[in-house]
Symmetry: C2
């Protein structure tokens, strides 16, 4: 969101800059000189989740969205701290949230090592800071090169259906409530020596995210709209493409890898149970393009635009 | 606050525990195996700051309260990430907040390396996560030993007057708005070899904080009420003691050091321009006690209890 990026810019513009921090704003996480990465994500009741959201799943989502950012840097998640600001009378709800977060910590092998909870006269605000450990040089958004292939993990569009449909299917509701980022991919690629030129996570949808990688890398991304992976429930819908590129909330990875490494990358991902799909290529130029197809109109924003 | 600690407990109870994290809950910051410490603090509009708070000072306070936590561990502040959830129409206010945070980053030699900003239908919520670097074994709350002396940095009570008085003095208003934690003390003590057995920062006031150190260390703290350092404005007031032990918001350090090291500790602190005052001693027993004086009644909470 333009406003959000402008605000972060305002904060970062006023800070002293250090050469010891090679990557900071504009990537999925900041990189520290010691090889750790750090990211913070905040979920606000009424904006990012509804007041009747199931707290157990929400606790897990708090962590999963940050795990996705860490994975997008080619790092492994390690330690988290949380901040919870909540109106009074939410004890049982927060207890379920804590259980869901605890389960997600076990899933992603993350230690929750601290936190701050405060009262609030307003909506519940959940913020989580996650530290991860790099296995190799960070995967940046800026490294895509002409000739690279574009790969995407998992499938796209089901989570978008979860919030766009008035009465979403159970599978779509689940995809929205419980993102499953491919967090094991960085380690598997590192061990196998799969080269990754660029990576980012897909949180806002390809129509928003792909241009960011194109701009950071100063290249053009050409994406085949027919190659975008979908579960049958999404693939069969007339609004499939819109769901897949505008829906957002996918928490999958978009990767740019050399053409010669695509077969190996797919094999390594497959061995981890992670689908990896070749959706296009990097060329000289600018911007992100759907091949022979305009980007679907009526791009929308997350929950902010929904009832 | 009992409720807050209960909530954090609920979150941490459900997480997997790791032997790689020697200190987590119950101290000022969590310690990671790599020698870094991490703390998160959240300020909520209407609870921790008033809607008409000066944003420049508030931006600095966001960082200072966390710098205080890091100093209390014997660590040096390094990297911060922020989360800002704000209602619409606060652009100029947030710009001033960013400037104040930027200035504080320069003061405390902290790199702001990332952040997340979101809209909110409710009050502004500011959360900051700070990473610090340990110089030696962490200063814990639990290490005070009988025979240690209790030292406190700076003075106590002025910030409390800033929020308790209906029409506070400019100095009291400033002390409340702009905490100045003695963040250079850990490095100075480390270089000089001053031994610190236990430390914590004073954010809620001695009446609340001293019993926490006593409990963590399983000792008794005996504090001389006449020895508590105060600026003249506070020292001359009939409610001096209440301000000094119940007011909170001091962001000074309470330290337990061996009796033999008190003179050296004072000299080293003095060389850094940090006042250090001997306020009592550690004995076998339990609890925190004012010598020959009951704790002032009517303990109150931060802004939550004020109009």
């Amino acid at each position: 969101l333009a406003t959000e990026e402008g605000l972060i810019d305002a904060f970062l513009r006023h800070r002293p800059r250090s050469p010891a921090v090679p990557v900071d704003i504009g990537d999925d996480a900041a990189v520290r000189a010691d090889g750790s990465v750090i990211t913070v994500d905040t979920l606000v009741e009424g904006i990012h989740f509804r007041s009747d959201a199931a707290p157990f799943a929400l606790g897990g989502k708090m962590l999963a969205v940050s795990v996705s950012d860490v994975a997008a840097m080619g790092a492994v998640p390690r330690h988290a701290v949380i901040s919870v600001s909540s109106p009074a009378g939410r004890g049982p709800w927060l207890g379920e949230l804590a259980k869901g977060l605890g389960k997600a910590c076990a899933t992603y092998e993350v230690d929750l090592i601290g936190g701050d909870t405060t009262g609030s006269p307003g909506p519940c605000v959940l913020s989580l800071t996650l530290l991860g450990e790099l296995l190799e040089a960070p995967w940046r958004r800026s490294g895509a090169r002409p000739g690279d292939h574009l790969l995407v993990t998992g499938t796209l569009g089901l989570a978008g259906a979860g919030w766009m449909d008035p009465a979403p299917s159970p599978a779509a509701t689940d995809a929205l409530a419980t993102p499953r980022p491919p967090w094991r991919l960085p380690r598997a690629f590192h061990r196998a020596g799969v080269p990754v030129h660029a990576a980012m996570d897909l949180s806002d949808g390809l129509a928003t995210d792909a241009p960011r990688m194109a701009a950071a890398s100063q290249v053009a991304l050409h994406i085949d709209p027919h190659a975008l992976p979908a579960v049958p429930e999404v693939a069969s819908r007339p609004d499939r493409l819109r769901l897949q590129v505008c829906g957002g909330e996918d928490y999958q990875l978009l990767l740019a890898v050399p053409a010669a490494a695509v077969t190996q990358a797919k094999a390594v991902a497959s061995s981890e149970g992670i689908p990896l799909c070749d959706i296009g290529e990097v060329r000289a130029g600018t911007g992100a393009h759907l091949i022979d197809t305009p980007w679907p109109g009526g791009a929308f924003r997350h929950f902010g635009a929904s009832p």
